[in-house]
């Protein structure tokens, strides 16, 4: 039974990727003007376990940048997604879960995308209790304590939401953001600020970047058969 279903799954995945490979993509880099504020050291002395689990300073993650000069810096943890121009269509959610880990009293990853209905597997790799508290606005909130060594929690979202915040109240500094979408066209920028959204049919799309502090920027991109490029530059309000 399980063999059959996994074989079937593999076939579907191959089929889908073949179909996707035929389509275009959008890639680019997200930058900000100037340098971000310096990351601050988090006071986590209230939980001795967190001190052990994350030796060295634990820094705030609101601003994570790659190459950074006085002119511009590459910004990580930006959620980039197609926000308009898609033909109405059902995009079945993948069966594989998105994994969110609590490790060293922080969330890994800090920003991620997930599909409506897709399973979110929340792990606790720390030797201390966390609670996973969703502050979602469009989706049902949840708040689960997860003691050390507890099995992973499985959650999912029923509605599109940009962005659903998840945090730990036992360690108030711990938070992360989920972009919940009903299509697969999203990406999160890496340390160098780059992202790539693949598998888009040709057409003109609206693409939106979201950053925890700098909020959103939107631009229009036309995708042909090959790679379209869309860089974002966050500029200060003058």
């Amino acid at each position: 039974m399980s063999y059959t279903s996994s074989t079937l799954g593999a076939i579907i995945i191959i089929a889908v990727s073949v179909q996707l490979a035929a389509a275009g993509s959008i890639s680019g880099t997200v930058k900000m003007e100037g340098k971000p504020p310096k990351a601050k050291t988090i006071d986590r002395s209230a939980d001795a376990k967190c001190m052990e689990l994350h030796p060295g300073d634990l820094l705030t993650e609101s601003w994570v940048v790659g190459e950074s000069t006085d002119e511009a810096s590459q910004v990580a943890n930006v959620f980039v997604h197609v926000s308009g121009g898609l033909a109405a269509k059902d995009w079945p959610a993948p069966t594989a879960p998105v994994v969110l880990d609590q490790k060293g009293c922080r969330y890994e990853p800090h920003v991620f995308g997930i599909r409506v209905g897709q399973s979110l597997e929340i792990r606790n790799s720390d030797g201390t209790t966390h609670n996973v508290h969703s502050l979602a606005k469009n989706n049902k909130q949840f708040n689960n304590g997860q003691p050390s060594g507890a099995p992973a929690l499985n959650k999912s979202f029923d509605a599109v939401e940009l962005m659903a915040k998840i945090k730990c109240d036992m360690h108030p500094w711990m938070s992360c953001y989920a972009g919940v979408l009903d299509h697969p066209f999203f990406a999160v920028t890496g340390a160098d600020g780059s992202y790539k959204i693949e598998g888009l049919p040709a057409g003109t799309y609206e693409v939106t970047a979201w950053h925890e502090r700098m909020r959103t920027r939107t631009q229009s991109v036309t995708v042909g058969d090959d790679d379209a490029s869309a860089d974002f530059l966050y500029q200060k309000k003058k």
């Binding site: 969703s134 708040n143 689960n144």
Partner: protein, 588 residues
């Protein structure tokens, strides 16, 4: 009664046992519901005790079942902090509002009071039926909240705002509030009925000072319910509005919850909820304890074969107790930033309220002096009630003085204190009452050997559970810690008490098996020869002397008795037997 002509045979099963207006059937309905909920509430606390002694370990045997039931809140059979909080809130709520009050007032009150005062039924039989059905609906709402996503209420049985209001991850608190509104309505309907019945339907000759003490206790309890519950009903509706309609009766301005500004309008007062809650909940404590005192008084008089000593002073004490219980509520709130004058007032009233309790307990002990004491099962439970209630009352003293409340507030000392009052206190009295009136209800006495097998272990294990709490309280262990204080790194010996308590709780559970067997077996066994007499305990009050065992259906008495004397005329000098029924005419 008007429908005398057609009682009994021509009623359908539904009319007779389900939608009955007969106070006796309603009493039994309350009793069965309350006993089931008591067992359920006890099961919840067993799970909590397991978690406190063994935090983060899977519950043995039923862990898998818990996981099926509660999903991620009990993953791997481990009780999570939120499930612990749910169990804690529901344990308190169920024990108080669905267990003991329905048992003490709804069951014993309904069954016994009309029979003791010589009434053919309660004053408003249909209201009485409405009361039990509203109770049933409240129970269903509370129970169903266990099966909704996010689980039942988790803000304590006190449901303090803002905690109770901000919990958006579960509708449990909303269920709790709706359930409470039903339960409160049920109690109000019952209370009105008791008051009218006791005032209006006493048999000829049943003057106030001839009333059995149990009736007095029910009378005062009904006043407390009637006057104290409406503020909580209003408060419950207000909190419900705060949760579902965006009002902010109890929500102050400027809250930042989980790092985000809270959207309520603000301007409300969290302390207001506490005042409204405790304005009910303190009188409620006396609703839990007065019927128990009443039952104990009946049984002590009957089994010491002599009148209650100081019956009048007991009656005046219970009236005074009822009155005072309305002006002590804020002793639960000494630490909410209370000024000198207000705290002096509430400390003084709290000290004053201890005096009538001392008088009643002393009178009961003195009543035994000179008696000819029979140690049957109801008497054992009634006697054990006295020292247990004594500990419960005495440990109230350091909590009632704001100075010594500082180190003890919200520690296990408080838990030990009020459990001594209601668990080995009230619940023992309830058991005493069940063993005592069982022959009246079924015509058959419960087995004495099984009764003693129930009593002695229960007595030991009750103390094994609650005395260590007082020690933990002195050591400063806070209540409502799901890991039993492990994170606070209390000493090994303090934490080991959790294991002692958990084992005792398990022992207490086992000790209830003889009771359940006894209860069920006695209901279904055949009546023996010589059983089914009206008055197996040689009692004086009219429910024994003038009604059959079990009493006839609607109407209770073939002839409504005439009352000639006080309630406890035992061992009257010159009498040929050691009890003189209230309904026995003077020989002259």
């Amino acid at each position: 009664m008007a429908d005398d002509a057609h009682h009994g045979h021509d009623e359908s099963f539904l009319r007779k046992y389900i939608f009955s207006t007969d106070h006796k059937v309603i009493g039994i309905q309350y009793a069965l519901g309350a006993l089931v909920f008591l067992l359920f509430g006890f099961t919840l606390v067993m799970l909590m005790r397991w978690s406190m002694a063994n935090p983060n370990q899977a519950v043995p045997f039923i862990g898998g079942f818990l996981e099926t039931l509660f999903g991620e809140d009990a993953q791997g059979g481990v009780i999570t902090p939120q499930l612990y909080n749910s169990f804690g809130a529901m344990h308190g709520t169920i024990m108080v509002f669905l267990g003991i009050v329905p048992l003490a007032v709804g069951a014993f009150g309904n069954y016994v009071v009309p029979l003791q005062i010589g009434a053919v039924d309660m004053a408003f039989p249909k209201l009485n039926m409405a009361s039990v059905w509203v109770y049933f609906v409240g129970g269903v709402v509370m129970f169903s909240s266990f099966f909704i996503p996010g689980g039942p209420a988790k803000s304590g049985w006190t449901s303090y705002a803002p905690l109770a209001v901000i919990d958006a991850a579960s509708a449990g608190q909303t269920f709790w509030l709706v359930g409470m509104i039903f339960l409160i309505t049920s109690s109000l309907l019952g209370a009105v009925n008791f008051l009218v019945t006791i005032i209006q339907l006493r048999a000829p000759g049943m003057t106030w000072m001839r009333l059995p003490f149990f009736v007095w206790a029910q009378f005062i309890s009904s006043f407390l319910l009637l006057l104290a519950f409406p503020p909580l009903e209003a408060a419950g509706v207000m909190q419900l509005m705060d949760r579902v309609a965006g009002t902010s009766f109890f929500m102050p301005t400027g809250l930042v919850v989980s790092g985000e500004a809270y959207s309520a309008v603000g301007g409300g007062s969290p302390i207001l909820w506490q005042h409204l809650f405790w304005f009910l909940a303190h009188p409620e404590v006396y609703v839990l304890i007065l019927p128990a005192l009443g039952i104990v008084a009946e049984i002590i008089a009957n089994n010491s074969r002599k009148p209650l000593w100081g019956y009048r002073s007991m009656v005046y004490s219970v009236i005074f107790l009822g009155f005072m219980s309305f002006i002590v509520w804020a002793h639960h709130m000494f630490l909410t930033d209370m000024g000198v004058i207000i705290s002096a007032f509430f400390q003084t009233t709290t000290m004053i309220i201890s005096i009538p309790s001392v008088i009643i307990i002393t009178a009961l002990i003195i009543s035994l002096w000179g008696g000819s004491i029979r140690f049957n099962t109801p008497m054992l439970f009634a006697l054990a009630f006295l020292p247990m209630f004594g500990i419960g009352g005495l440990t109230g003293l350091p909590l009632g003085l704001s100075g010594s409340d500082i180190p003890l507030h919200d520690t296990y000392y408080v838990i030990g204190h009020f459990h001594y009052v209601v668990a080995p206190g009230t619940i023992f009295a309830m058991f005493a009452g069940i063993y005592f009136w069982f022959p009246k209800i079924t015509g058959r006495k419960m087995n004495e050997f099984l009764g003693k097998l129930h009593f002695y272990p229960s007595f030991i294990f009750m103390n094994g559970i609650f005395f260590p709490m007082l020690i933990q309280g002195i050591a400063g262990v806070s209540r409502r810690l799901y890991d039993g204080g492990e994170y606070y790194e209390f000493s090994e010996s303090i934490l080991q008490l959790n294991t002692v308590m958990t084992h005792s709780a398990f022992g207490l559970l086992l000790a209830q098996i003889p009771f359940i067997i006894n209860f069920v077996w006695t209901i279904f066994r055949k009546t023996r020869e010589g059983e089914g007499t009206r008055n197996p305990w040689d009692a004086t009050t009219i429910e024994w002397t003038d009604a059959d065992s079990p009493p006839m259906g609607h109407g209770n008495f073939a002839v409504v008795p005439q009352v000639y004397r006080a309630a406890y005329e035992y061992s009257v000098p010159g009498s040929d037997k050691d009890f003189t029924p209230q309904s026995e005419p003077d020989s002259k």
